[in-house]
């Protein structure tokens, strides 16, 4: 597989590891933003191979994990309405809402379909003119263009039985929220390669400057991650705080203009509640007024009480990098993938799930 196997090359991995060991003189704490990066680190056993004084903490970049309980409840409510087909990415189904998950709603008879693309949902709407099709549009800046495009398509095709329940979240405001936390202990970031592929990297310069924190836009394969770590540690050892791009094969400074235009066409920036973290101003996308006919929150009268987060779940502290999954008293005991207290234990990109499934192979505590 071109562009994959080269980045899993054991010799390159060893070379980068040697170099990281060679240059590291002080303890550094780095946060990888994206859950895909977390999983790659754990699944490939990289955490054990790093110098002991480099600590990787796992960021909030798991869209499933940060979707608030209330939004999950909204999706469940919609899925149980007569005549509604709720379409979702597969990941969302197991995440607990305040009372149940979408998977449980499905077992109760809700018509819930797993799709890979929102455009399939528009197709489904055309095939089922007597049904209301709602797409559960979650994700970071990465999934926003396709979700926006589905609305544009539906509008152009005159499809009126399609709407989206948007719960988009944005990376830079979350990074700022983490860096401005009193307890913050992060020295440098590995920024999320896919998000930057869409949005470019300009947003990161002021943050790096303001918080004097190195930021390396990084990919997802072992060689990418190690190169990203090396670049970040090199900066830290030299006392620098620049924005650098490790993932240049995918990320251009200005990002993908066409994707950005599609996002701007359909979405407006809004406040968003992050599960476990709370409200972060201007940290999400909501469908704008021009396309409000495709906003499920406008189309349906969603009448549900506000739901509190499960207080036993420390997902907020985990996603801010203040604690590691194993430091949670409920990890693997009260909270397991089959009966999760919070989302990071069920999502395929959640940090707790990564530790639960893959870690524990070495004698080193990770």
């Amino acid at each position: 597989m071109k562009f994959l196997t080269e980045y899993r090359d054991p010799e390159l991995v060893t070379a980068y590891l040697d170099e990281i060991h060679h240059i590291t003189t002080k303890p550094w704490t780095l946060m990888e933003i994206c859950g895909g990066q977390t999983h790659s680190l754990v699944k490939n056993g990289i955490l054990d191979m790093l110098p002991a004084n480099i600590t990787m903490v796992h960021g909030p970049g798991c869209p499933v994990c940060v979707t608030s309980v209330s939004v999950i409840d909204e999706a469940i409510y919609l899925s149980l309405q007569p005549n509604v087909i709720l379409c979702s990415f597969g990941d969302m189904l197991r995440v607990p809402g305040s009372k149940k998950s979408l998977l449980e709603a499905k077992a109760e008879g809700a018509d819930i379909r797993i799709l890979y693309s929102p455009l399939e949902a528009v197709q489904l709407a055309r095939q089922n003119p007597d049904k209301e099709i709602v797409f559960f549009a979650v994700g970071f800046e990465t999934t926003a263009p396709a979700n926006a495009l589905s609305v544009v398509h539906a509008d152009q095709l005159g499809v009126t039985n399609y709407s989206i329940l948007a719960s988009h979240v944005l990376v830079p405001p979350a990074m700022e929220a983490i860096l401005s936390d009193d307890e913050n202990k992060i020295d440098g970031f590995l920024a999320a390669g896919h998000v930057c592929t869409i949005m470019g990297i300009d947003e990161y310069y002021p943050i790096a400057e303001k918080y004097q924190c190195p930021m390396v836009v990084t990919g997802f394969e072992p060689v990418d991650l190690l190169q990203g770590i090396l670049m970040a540690v090199t900066q830290l050892e030299k006392g620098e705080y620049k924005v650098e791009n490790q993932y240049a094969r995918s990320v251009q400074r200005e990002g993908n203009k066409m994707a950005q235009e599609t996002i701007q066409k359909v979405f407006a920036i809004s406040d968003r509640v992050w599960r476990g973290i709370g409200n972060i101003p201007q940290s999400g996308y909501e469908v704008n007024d021009r396309y409000k006919a495709f906003n499920a929150r406008v189309k349906f009268d969603i009448d549900i009480p506000f739901a509190e987060e499960n207080k036993e779940c420390i997902s907020g502290e985990i996603m801010k990098g203040l604690k590691k999954p194993r430091q949670c008293p409920n990890f693997g005991i009260k909270c397991k993938p089959e009966h999760p207290l919070g989302a990071p234990m069920v999502s395929s990109e959640g940090a707790c799930a990564a530790y639960y499934h893959y870690a524990g192979a070495s004698e080193v505590a990770v």
Binding site: M1, G90, I114, S348, H357, Y358, A361
Partner: protein, 353 residues
């Protein structure tokens, strides 16, 4: 299924003329319609001396220790590249019996058909059943057909149960597994699951990924004859893939499996599809594959014999039995790191991004 295959099948076994095109509730009523349906279709094509007795059950003699197994097949879609629900239902039970170290002999066949299922499709399934039974050299000796109302089934469900005689050389049990034993997989993993998944998702790849559905009894019996109790354990990793089987065995024996990722054979398109769909091939279903735990001393010869068989061309040693992490499966990643390969929780769900 390709047109080519369909044509070939129809030529081999032309569909008899029925006075109905679709199966209705009446065909499962037990009355005249059922009788006509079975006489003109099912019995004719599956014909053998035991089935021809047309009794409530089959009567036969078996000699020696026996293995008995059952499985239900509810796959959707029922036709897929490399097979259909019919051959899957035969091969699945044949393989389960084979994994006990037994030679499968007789199978039962139960259909639950959804009202409205077409005779044409039913016939195609039936022809595959016959061909798979012939290939595996087993007889279908008893059966049942029920029809359920539209919406209460999904086209067709099949149950098969089977019985087989344990080979005198066989001594297959997880209790025989010891530290130092070698783990062998008989071919590329994850083909079946990805063939089905790409069809369900309407995803097309450069080459069509075929299900690996196949009967393994001849392959396995040949190995047992040759290597006897050098073969400690056999299992076909269907649902849940090789990771689930190895976890079950690790838990039962409180030994650990140490696997090496770069030794595990995966077809390149399947691996690409897994990357795209966000699935781990270790957990994806197989239907013509088996895992063997064998004595270290015979591992090389066993592998050579297996590779000479059509069901074992891509067979490989993938790891060994150790005692370092009791009850766990550990894998050395391609880049040299280590990780736990855990049980799968529920269904593998495709990820967001």
């Amino acid at each position: 299924m390709s047109t080519e295959n369909k044509i070939k099948m129809n030529l081999q076994c032309p569909m008899p003329k029925f006075d109905f095109d679709i199966i209705t509730m009446g065909h499962g009523s037990g009355g005249l319609l059922t009788h006509k349906f079975l006489q003109s279709g099912v019995f004719d094509i599956l014909k053998n001396d035991l089935l021809d007795q047309q009794h409530d059950g089959a009567i036969f003699e078996l000699h020696g220790k026996t293995a008995f197994s059952t499985d239900s097949y509810v796959i959707s879609p029922i036709f897929f590249p490399g097979g259909n629900i019919g051959d899957l239902a035969i091969n699945g039970t044949v393989n389960d019996i084979s994994m006990c170290g037994a030679e499968p002999k007789y199978l039962s066949l139960g259909f639950i058909i959804e009202e409205g299922f077409t005779m044409k499709e039913f016939w195609e399934v039936l022809v595959s059943i016959k061909n798979a039974a012939d290939k595996a050299n087993i007889k279908i000796v008893t059966g049942d057909t029920k029809v359920v109302e539209k919406g209460k089934g999904d086209k067709i469900f099949i149950n098969t149960s089977g019985i087989g005689v344990i080979h005198p050389n066989a001594n297959i049990h997880h209790k025989n597994i010891e530290e130092g034993d070698v783990v062998i997989v008989s071919g590329n993993i994850a083909n079946h699951g990805i063939a089905i998944m790409s069809l369900r998702q309407g995803i097309e790849f450069e080459t069509t990924i075929q299900s690996d559905t196949a009967n393994l009894n001849h392959t396995v019996i040949k190995l047992i004859e040759q290597y006897g109790n050098g073969i400690k354990f056999l299992r076909d990793p269907t649902r849940g893939g090789i990771a689930s089987v190895l976890n079950e065995v690790a838990e039962l024996t409180q030994l650990s499996f140490y696997l090496e990722q770069n030794l595990i054979p995966v077809n390149e398109s399947v691996e690409g599809a897994c990357e795209m769909l966000g699935l781990d091939p270790m957990y994806v279903a197989n239907e013509g594959l088996f895992l063997a735990v064998v004595k270290k001393e015979i591992a090389n010869d066993f592998l050579a014999t297996l590779r000479a068989d059509k069901n074992g061309i891509n067979a490989a040693v993938i790891g060994a039995v150790t005692t370092t992490h009791p009850g766990k499966v550990i894998m050395k990643s391609r880049i040299g790191g280590k990780r736990v390969v855990n049980y799968l929780t529920g269904e593998q769900l495709p990820r967001i991004c």
